[in-house]
Amino acid sequence: MIKLSQIEKVYTTKTIETLALNNINLDIMKGEFVSIMGPSGCGKSTLLNIMGLLDDPSTGQVEINGESFARFSDKQLAKFRNNTIGFIFQSYHLINDLSVIDNVELPLLYRNVSSSERRKLASEALEKVGLANRMKHFPSQLSGGQKQRVAIARAIVGRPQIILADEPTGNLDSVMGNEVMDILLKLNEQEDTTIVMVTHDESMAQKTHRLIRLFDGSQVN
């Protein structure tokens, strides 16, 4: 499903060059639930961004569903992201100017979906994360856990085959964290969604099929 070969990522700033990823080789199967662990700054988010086609590797190949993207136009890439990948970001990344339901509708806005259908799918997704009663709220009126669940609803609303989740439980207490984890596990079991999740929590990682450890940009086994 997701195949990374010899991925390297170098960030060059004026003063230093950072080797954020070094010779990453990964093959993630359809329906797999993979977790990534590693100390802060070891390149987890960078890896997820590259998997999600938000960032280009400095060298190496990304293949998703057998497609490689070197020749993809911006439009094709956008369409692919929209159809195939759902993102849950480390810091929620909701749009503050939009209400909860409008935030959740966002991925559908970039598809040909009628506004009534959008509304329906978004409310269903919000129900799944237990936020049906907060649809008209704005992000600033929500708690951290609620924001994270909105972000999950937004990631699943378009029924993507892949969900990339960057510390989805990181800002939550253990009860809330377990709830979010349950949502992801259910999604993986019931809908066969491939999930790649970055986490700092060993117990969460234990619940997934496979654990990948990163250290200083490299895989460790």
Partner: protein, 395 residues
């Protein structure tokens, strides 16, 4: 998407209201200036009604005030001028002549309506001297001096103001006491004697009576090649014939130029001020858009991650600006449109026609949209080009 754009704007009312007001006031200023410019331009392009080329204007002053003596001297001068091959045509006239500073007005009544036209006292040769454009009836002739009702030729503006569609040739006009005073014998097009930039005014011509106790002015249509030498020769002769008169010669083309300058200067100043203002508005808009978009970098990253294309984002930002602009223009047009609807300044002394207001509104709308489009295009494009990972990182 339009609904979504509206949503984005609505949820950010506070941030957008300033922009809305800025566009509102720019429109109002632009509307005022473009109304003024279109108004002046339109007047400028109305038919002037006479030819000012190669006209010399001779102002004459006599120390004596004996009508008979004055008439004799004038005859003598006329005889002399007729013999000069350098002069194509000439006519005595009252002093309210093209590009000059004097005016003469009177009151005319007809069927209960009243108007205040300019009136000009001239000679039959005046038509030829100024190449006036007769539209109906005939011009004045020498025998008219003997007529009971004074024959007059009116201009089309007077026709419009006082008589509308009536057939006026041979119509007699009464004075205040009900006696016959004038008889209309012809209609001219315009005679915009105050120059290109003054609105067409009602006016009429009659023959200069012999009984005047002042000489008035003399209009000379000169051969194109006649110059200073002829002028000197003529002035010398005139001084000889009328020793105690004073003559003052000026060239109509010169008077015209200085009159035009007087009007053009304020127009140019106004346009410069307006241009400067618009430039400031553009800069302001540009700045606001830049900072707005910089504040929204994370949003750009999110949208890109959710499947927005670069182009789509670019147009979303432009769309937001255009929508704010449209709201602002709807509001300001509502105010501006009251002027033509209430026919403000449509009467003397401005005569701003309704279409001028509408054209000015249209022009102002176009310019504002143009500025907003340009000012939003570049920041939006720049923002849309941001790499999604970078945009997301900047939160």
């Amino acid at each position: 998407m339009i609904k979504h754009i509206f949503l984005m704007i609505w949820n950010q009312k506070g941030r957008n209201i300033g922009l809305l007001l800025e566009i509102f006031f720019s429109f109002i200023v632009l509307f005022a200036v473009s109304t003024y410019i279109i108004y002046q331009y339109n007047i400028y392009h109305q038919n002037l009604g006479f030819n000012y080329e190669n006209i010399w204007m001779l102002q004459m002053d006599a120390r004596e005030s004996n009508a008979k003596e004055i008439a004799q001297t004038k005859d003598q001068i006329a005889r002399y001028l007729k013999q000069q091959t350098e002069i194509q045509s000439f006519s005595y006239s009252s002093n309210n002549m093209p590009y000059g500073s004097s005016t003469s007005m009177t009151v005319l009544n007809h069927n209960g309506k009243e108007t205040n036209p300019d009136y000009f006292q001239v000679e039959p040769s005046f038509l030829e001297t100024f190449q006036l454009e007769l539209m109906e009836g005939r011009w004045l002739k020498e025998d008219d001096k003997a007529a009971n009702a004074i024959p007059i030729v009116i201009n089309s503006e007077l026709k419009k103001e006082l008589f509308e569609d009536e057939d006026v040739i041979n119509l007699e006009l009464l004075d205040d006491e009900g006696n016959t005073e004038f008889k209309i014998v012809g209609i001219l097009d315009q005679f915009k004697f105050q120059g290109e930039f003054s609105p067409a005014r009602a006016g009429f011509f009659r023959l200069m009576p012999d009984s005047l106790n002042y000489p008035g002015s003399m209009m000379l249509k000169i051969q194109p090649n006649a110059g200073a030498a002829f002028e000197a020769k003529m002035m010398k002769q005139l001084n000889k014939m009328a020793g105690n008169w004073s003559f003052n010669i000026s060239y109509m083309e010169e008077s015209r130029k200085s009159r035009l300058r007087e009007t053009q200067v304020p127009i140019i100043v106004l346009m410069t001020i307006c241009g400067f203002l618009l430039f400031n508005v553009a800069l302001g808009l540009f700045g606001i858009l830049w900072s707005n978009i910089n504040k929204r970098k994370a949003e750009i990253g999110i949208r890109r991650a959710m499947g927005a294309t670069k182009n789509g984002l670019n147009w979303q930002f432009i769309g937001e600006m255009m929508m704010i602009c449209t709201f602002s223009l709807v509001l300001s047009t509502f105010f501006a449109i009251q002027l033509p609807l209430l026919k403000v300044f449509s009467g003397p002394p401005f005569f701003i026609s309704v279409w001028i207001y509408f054209l000015a509104i249209f022009v102002s709308i176009l310019i504002i949209y143009g500025i907003v489009l340009i000012c939003s295009y570049f920041p939006s494009r720049q923002a849309a080009q941001l790499h999604p990972a970078v945009a997301l990182h900047e939160e």
